[in-house]
């Protein structure tokens, strides 16, 4: 079905839109092409220009949850004005955020740039987990292990085999994806919380395996590649800025990839498997292939993130027995508080947790042990206040605001056109 609609003939197109409501309307195609231009320059928010529109959002929403934007799409979606305004707001936000992300490393101290780069790699791993958990419905508390696999792949290649940094990133992704397949195949047999458990074990066991088989300096599982490997290759760009931009570019590429994937045939298959496995298989979706494939891709994202973490944190560390379990929790939390099954969610979530943790650490003088408590309490509060995550909550808010702003005439006109066919 080719998108035939363009903004001028939208009124005429309206009845047709309602007829093929379950599919992707022509309006979406238009919105997509409008924003396709802005997306690549939009750093941490590739979806900002064109978050999935009403119809798409309906497909994302799980049964039982109120599909907030979709519910209003007959009103706002059929009305060009409301939709255009939302699009303008989205593009404007996207451009502002893009500018901010590009300017940030020149404005902040090197120390803060490192924190921002940490946000980026956590966002990448969270995006990977989001593909698996948010879009495909497989809960994993083991992504820290894939992250660790990526980190150690990079570190081992650099320290023991003398590789330069950049070529190790695809290798780290590939190795993590291979481990992902190895976990994804048994994961086919189990679902929901059982899967969460198995993956949890994966995260707990990873540092022990690392401690047993990886011997860095002094015989402990801590590998520190040479710092000069990460130096800036561009004059006029300090190393911290260079590292930030490297993370940024990779994050943008991976987010755009994820954004395109979930709107593709494969993405719809992933979502269908999440929402109703049996029904998906009866319409010809190959369940095993989709689930294992998603697992592998998701693990590859985490592997890339782990590889980047070696550059930012300058070490692959297997000495802390619960570090990778904490990472797993971090990613899951980023997905849930950012908004599961959204494109922007993992980035927002990553930003929130990194800065929450940073600010809770020194919040109470002399009581550093309390930092996890504040962090945990903040998580609980966010889940209370924004059960659909920050992005889900914002979507609801935008839907409500634009609905209110639609002129009365349009409000009365919309239902008529709905009932026309």
């Amino acid at each position: 079905m080719t998108p035939t609609g363009s903004p001028p003939d939208r009124p005429a197109e309206r009845p047709r839109r309602t007829l093929r409501a379950p599919g992707r309307g022509g309006g979406d195609g238009a919105a997509g092409s409008e924003t396709g231009v802005t997306a690549p320059v939009d750093p941490s928010h590739p979806g900002a220009g064109g978050m999935p529109d009403g119809d798409q959002a309906a497909a994302f929403a799980r049964p039982g949850e109120a599909p907030a934007p979709a519910a209003t799409s007959p009103g706002t979606g059929g009305d060009g004005q409301g939709r255009d305004r939302v699009t303008v707001i989205r593009i404007a936000t996207g451009v502002i955020l893009a500018a901010a992300a590009l300017y940030a490393p020149f404005y902040f101290e090197p120390e803060l740039n490192r924190v921002l780069a940490q946000v980026l790699y956590i966002a990448i791993a969270a995006m990977g987990l989001n593909l698996l958990t948010g879009f495909n419905g497989q809960v994993s508390i083991g992504h820290g292990a894939f992250f660790g696999v990526g980190a150690f792949t990079t570190a081992i290649l650099m320290v023991d085999h003398g590789w330069t940094y950049e070529p190790t990133i695809p290798i780290a992704a590939a190795v993590a994806a291979a481990v992902g397949v190895a976990v994804g195949v048994p994961a086919l047999r189990v679902r929901g919380l059982y899967l969460a458990l198995i993956t949890l074990g994966l995260a707990v066991i990873f540092p022990r395996v690392a401690t047993k088989y990886v011997k860095g300096q002094g015989g402990i599982a801590l590998l520190r590649p040479d710092r000069s490997e990460f130096n800036s290759l561009i004059d006029g760009l300090a190393s911290d800025q260079w590292q930030y931009f490297e993370c940024l570019v990779i994050a943008v590429v991976l987010f755009v990839l994820a954004w395109n994937l979930v709107r593709s045939r494969t993405g719809r298959a992933m979502i269908a498997v999440r929402d109703q496995e049996l029904a998906a298989s009866t319409v010809g979706v190959n369940l095993s292939r989709v689930k294992v494939g998603t697992f592998a891709l998701s693990a590859a994202y985490a592997g890339v993130a782990g590889s980047l973490s070696v550059m930012i944190d300058r070490a692959a560390d297997g000495t802390n027995p619960i570090l990778y379990f904490q990472r797993s929790i971090e990613f899951l939390v980023a997905v849930v508080i950012g908004g599961a099954a959204t494109i922007l969610g993992p980035a927002v979530g990553a930003f929130l947790i990194v800065f929450l943790r940073r600010n809770t650490e020194n919040l109470i003088e002399g009581k550093e042990v309390l930092a996890p408590a504040v962090f945990g309490a903040a998580l609980i509060v966010i889940v209370y206040v924004l059960p659909e995550g920050v992005v889900g909550g914002l979507r609801k808010l935008v839907a409500r605001l634009t609905k209110r702003r639609v002129p009365p005439s349009a409000l009365t006109a919309a239902p008529m056109s709905e009932s026309a066919p």
Binding site: L193, I198, L332, G376
Partner: protein
């Protein structure tokens, strides 16, 4: 052979602990369909309470019983205040996040209130002056009192739970809510109260298990329950999450398998956790509902 038997006994000792914690997990899962990731930390906090009570002069057994009562109340409050609001009709992921938040918060509160230094829990079974467990001879083997006490406690727990669930009106209500909350509400059961009771019972069992684990080990700190929880999850998964009997048997299986493999398989030295995880994996591949779980029929 002696080594084998002593490892076997050691495994049973561990297994009993895993079984108790797994029992607590299963109780919550049966009544609410949730996995409580904070179970271990709730038990840790209660353990600290019983340690505090015991070191302020109360007899150990009384201290543990009192901490169980406190945990019972606290478990009910946690269910009502923290879990219920996010549980109703929303994504189970949110509840997972809340229990993970509790995990972090309770652990750090425990460190704040009780300090980070290792503490010694007085033993509720016979021990000599230097704190070692007394041993008795049985069939030519010396068995530590700790193993016997733990086994007795676990047996008592199981019998009491069985009587509660199968022989009382309250137990009937609990089972009704577990099998179908909506229908049980229609026949006049206060499902909310039952859910609170499930969490309360589970917290109390956790308190008991935690205190005994602490008493069995030489010292304990805030990381006491971390590995125990993994093994307990393994036991619960192995037994099928909805079967208390399965949890107990699998707890013992996990404990024994762990002790024997680490004794006889050198390659596993340092990565003992592979054993419970491998067990879960194998069982779930063969029987996705666990050894003792029930098949559920899903409607499309």
């Amino acid at each position: 052979m002696d080594l084998f038997i002593s490892q076997l006994l050691n495994g049973i000792g561990n297994g009993v602990v895993y079984a108790s914690v797994a029992l607590a997990l299963v109780l919550i899962f049966r009544t609410t369909g949730l996995l409580n990731f904070a179970q271990g930390e709730m038990a840790l906090f209660s353990t600290y309470i019983s340690w505090k009570l015991a070191s302020s002069g109360l007899p150990v057994v009384a201290a543990i019983l009192l901490s169980m009562v406190i945990a019972f109340v606290a478990g009910a409050i946690i269910e009502r205040v923290l879990i219920r609001p996010v549980e109703v009709g929303r994504s189970p992921l949110n509840v997972v996040i809340v229990t993970l938040g509790m995990f972090l918060a309770i652990n750090s509160f425990a460190q704040l209130f009780f300090g980070t230094d290792p503490q010694t829990m007085p033993k509720p079974w016979p021990s000599d002056a230097s704190g070692n467990d007394e041993r008795i001879n049985f069939l030519g083997q010396s068995i530590s009192w700790a193993v016997i006490a733990l086994a007795l406690v676990l047996t008592a727990e199981c019998v009491l739970l069985f009587l509660l669930l199968q022989k009382t009106r309250l137990g009937l209500k609990i089972r009704a809510v577990a099998s179908n909350p909506d229908s049980s509400r229609l026949v006049g059961i206060n499902a909310g109260a039952i859910l609170m009771l499930g969490w309360a019972l589970s917290a109390a069992i956790g308190a008991l298990a935690g205190s005994l684990v602490a008493a069995r080990s030489t010292g304990f700190d805030a990381s006491l329950m971390a590995t125990v929880l993994v093994y307990a999850f393994a036991a619960a998964a192995l037994g099928g999450f909805d079967s208390p009997l399965g949890a107990v048997i699998s707890g013992l299986v996990v404990g024994v398998a762990d002790a024997l493999t680490t004794q006889y398989v050198d390659a596993l030295n340092g990565i003992e956790l592979v054993v419970p995880l491998g067990l879960i994996l194998i069982v779930l591949l063969v029987r996705p509902t666990g050894l003792f779980g029930r098949q559920t029929v899903e409607r499309v």
